[in-house]
Amino acid sequence: MSERKAILQVKGLQTSFFTDDGVIPAVDNIDFSVHEGEVLGIVGESGCGKSVTSLSIMGLVPSPPGKITGGKILFGDKELTKLSDKEMRNVRGNDVAMIFQEPMTSLNPLFTIGNQLMEAILIHKKGWSKKQASARAVEMLTLVGLPRADELMKEYPHQLSGGMRQRVMIAMALVCDPKVLIADEPTTALDVTIQAQILALMKDLNERLNTAVLLITHDLGVVAETCERVVVMYAGQIVEEGPVQTIFKDPQHPYTKGLLQSVPDMRYKKQRLYSIPGNVPKPGSVNTGCRFAARCEFAFDKCLTQNPDLYQTATVHKTRCFLYEDQEVSTHDRTLVES
């Protein structure tokens, strides 16, 4: 896994919203990479900055009020935050594609499925005929497991179920063979059986097409089933990062531990599900100390006054918690890992 090349690197990304109530640092200095062909999960509670992170990568942060205020996003040798409008349009849908949480409203209700799919193709495939585009669209619809692809081309979104629409969205995102697919809570709005099908489809396409997937979710169950690595976010920061097995077996950050305890586990019939006491602080409201300190049962003095770094606790495991400060592997190892 670690020998795979990083194709998308987010370095020190900061995205803030400049509102009347002040500046909201929704994403505050985060680093992570997506490697070729992997499925990387980003988990965290609502409002921790997952969507803002993905919109930053796509260059689609609503602006005003939002703005990328620092850091780099590297796709290959392209620095996405520095690209012109036109260059960025060539990246969207072509190099990096995205699907959204709401399949019910993410397709334009007034255009046929065929029209919207072919549009996605013809934007990037200059010189393709409509016929070629249509054939490609049908092929993609079939690939994502939709029956009667030919007829579907002429149908409108309201004639399809939520699950079917999300399959159409996936087909549309993958139609130009992007290197990275960002899926922002692609299954949250669907019911459980459909959720499982869509996740299985994404996993399958990831393996068949070798498209890297950045899967954003607040559901650790989804991560366990689909991802190889996971990044845990809290209040705009990354608090833990590592391979899925490691994080599930040996979670280090108290927040991750809390999250894991709140996942329903079918094997044990616990009477009550654990929930982390308190609420996520609003971004920007905690300026000193660890952002999780107020909800943390292990918090001590230092946590309230100093902001912990993301400590490298193993070659592939990082944690932002003072409890692991002394377990940091040597800087020598760290440079090895990062290079």
């Binding site: 796509m58 689609l60 409008d85 349009r89 060539n90 990246v91 969207r92 849908g93 072509n94 594609a97 995205m98 959204f100 709401e102 409203t105 993410s106 397709l107 334009n108 209700p109 007034l110 255009f111 549009e119 996605a120 934007i123 990037h124 409108y156 309201h158 969205m169 549309m172 995102a173």
Partner: protein, 334 residues
């Protein structure tokens, strides 16, 4: 769809019937007597009585009303008391003149209004947005007769660049076939005259277009602002689509639906405004036709003229309802 249109047309019958009744009663409530107007102040009582009897005005109102309805059922709009020509013949040139003026005004109002609204929403809070919305605010609150007179004064009298009255030059009359002068001059290849006709359309057209244009611009802007925040617009951008197409393809088609409703309603006001505009600019349209008929107490002309205008208005709205279903596949009639 045909079913739906048929049903809508059936529903029109009671509406138009009610309207004929109201108009019939109102015009008889206006003081004054057609026979008196026709014969003049010096006429004797006997002569007036004789003419009233001849015109059927001595019958009780309900007899007159059912006579009129009976005629309508046979497609007879009645005869003008003044000219004794059938209204259905007489009204055409006037109707065509109004149609040409209104169509011109509607095209300006829709094209300018919709685009101003789109650009204002696209570049929200830009100088364009502020300027356009201030102008639109001024536009909606502009009294049409004042605007008309000011335009006549500035462009007609002060600058002298545009004609202020009528549809054509007296010295250079148009040899009309359809009474739609733009169409006539194009068909005849008389492009010199086409220029004259268009010049005559500018001032009354703009006066008539101002209010609907302002309302359409404001409505389009707010509708576009809503739509621009929607998920499918974000999807279109995520595909890498150019902003121009995101706006004019994905957003506009959705945003135009509520604007269409407004356009339909504006058509009624536009037809009303046409009467005012036609009298300011001496436009020989149906507004003027009815206005003059009122002065002459020409009952059949007033009644049928208003009926025809009302019929056009409801047909336009039916057309807009059909347009909805063409734009939005989720709207299915029947």
């Amino acid at each position: 769809m045909l079913h739906y249109i048929g049903r809508r047309l059936l529903q029109l019958i009671p509406v138009l019937l009610g309207m004929t009744f109201v108009v019939f009663m109102i015009i008889r409530a206006i003081p004054g007597d057609p026979a008196q107007v026709i014969l003049g102040q010096q006429a004797t009582k006997e002569a007036i009585e004789a003419l009233r009897a001849k015109l059927g005005l001595d019958n009780p109102w309900y007899v007159q009303y059912f006579d009129y309805l009976g005629g309508l059922l046979k497609g007879d709009l009645g005869e003008s008391l003044r000219t004794t020509t059938p209204v259905s013949e007489e009204i055409w040139p006037y109707l065509a003149a109004t149609f040409e003026l209104s169509l011109f005004a509607v095209l300006i109002a829709v094209i300018v209004g919709v685009n101003a609204g789109i650009i204002s929403a696209w570049f929200q809070n830009s100088w364009f947005d502020y300027t356009a919305m201030i102008l639109a605010l001024v536009g909606v609150s502009m009294p049409i007769f004042w605007l008309g007179l000011m335009m006549q004064y500035i462009f007609g009298i002060e600058l002298g660049i545009l004609p202020t009255t009528g549809r054509e030059e007296v010295r250079n009359p148009i040899d009309s076939m359809t009474n739609l002068y733009v169409l006539d001059t194009i068909l005849q290849g008389r492009f010199d005259q086409l220029g004259i006709v268009l010049k005559h359309l500018v001032l009354p057209g703009l006066a008539l277009a101002t209010i609907p244009m302002a309302i359409i611009a404001r409505m389009t802007r707010s509708s576009m602002l809503d739509v621009m925040r929607s998920d499918y617009v974000r999807t279109a951008r995520a595909k890498g689509q150019k902003m121009f197409w995101v706006v004019y393809k994905h957003a506009l088609k959705n945003a135009i639906i509520p604007v269409l409703t407004i356009i339909g309603l504006q058509m009624g006001l536009l037809l009303g405004g046409a009467i005012l505009t036609e009298s300011i600019f001496a436009w020989p349209g149906v507004g003027r036709y009815i206005y003059e008929a009122i002065n002459f107490r020409d009952y059949p002309v007033i009644q049928s003229g208003i009926l025809v205008v009302a019929f056009i208005f409801v047909m336009i709205n039916l057309f807009i309802d059909i347009l909805y279903s063409l734009i939005d596949p989720r709207i299915k009639y029947d």
